[in-house]
Amino acid sequence: MSSSSDVVGGVHGQAESTTAKLSFWDGGSLPYSIPSKKLGMWLFIVSDAITFSAVIFAYGYLRLAAPDWPRPFETSSIVNATVMTFVLLSSSVVMVLAVRASSQGKVGSAVGWLLATALGGVLFDILHIREWLGLIHEGVRPFQNPWGTPMFGAAFFTMTGLHMTHVTIGVIYLLIVAAGYRAKKLSPVDVEVSGLYWHFVDLVWMFIFPLVYLLSAKMA
């Protein structure tokens, strides 16, 4: 038979446990020790990564299945794409600096780095559009080209176009975050979350660059 102090202790323990459960289900704790905005961005990134993976796998399938896949990329195009890679990787490092500055409360510095990152994105887009215009000038269309498998144009424009759209959205996103952070309407967490998106855009290019450009480089 339990004593009265045991009963009181048991009730008290139960009450504590109930409070803990309530605070958990009320959103009082962070199971991953990160803000919910950041978790939301991670979940978006995973879902978007699956979309990109499907496109990348479709491109890979077509590339390996077609013996007459065009190899239109001259050395100048490979150099251009390598510079684009350099620009995107460098903008990612600059984004890390923006996140670091915002976490230290350096508003001016963080905004400056955010704008520099957005500038990298704009430069990437300009170089990419130049590449597109060059191919269009040579006669590449979604379902025809002068060299080989007609699907090349559709596959190339779909994959690089999807990525370029992400870069463009990223630039707009960074500018909004920079303005909001400067006006003290957004917090360092918002800067960090925008950084996650930007690094993801960079990450996807690490697959597109070798798959699209390097595997179709014109041999001397």
Binding site: W42, V46, F57, L62, L64, I78, F209, P210
Partner: protein, 103 residues
């Protein structure tokens, strides 16, 4: 309430990763001009890309410094999905072989 993990990579680590990524990119460009069979080239380039992606996720996206539970929630399921997608490459290779026989 749990506090967010504030541990981050230092400047030295971040710039080392950046140089590493640039170095791997140069290796990829160098490989592109080697006369390797297409499938071999594809596999090598994709392995290098996965390695680059892992560096970006771990250091730039900070996942290395987050709670392990976040990694466990996000990454294995994603790898499983990607693994399921790779089954199409067997058909791709079969198609390429059949086309070369016809030609």
């Amino acid at each position: 309430m749990h506090m967010e993990n504030t541990e981050t990579a230092g400047f030295k680590v971040i710039f080392s990763v950046w140089f590493g990524l640039l170095g791997l990119t140069v290796c990829e460009v160098f490989l592109a001009y080697r006369a390797l069979p297409l499938v071999t080239m594809f596999v090598i380039l994709m392995i290098l890309s996965v390695f680059k992606a892992a560096l970006i996720i771990a250091y730039f996206m900070h996942l290395r410094y987050e709670q392990p539970s976040l990694f466990v929630t996000l990454i294995p399921a994603f790898i499983f999905v990607i693994g399921m997608m790779t089954v199409i490459f067997a058909d791709s290779s079969r198609l390429s072989h059949m086309r070369s026989l016809i030609q």
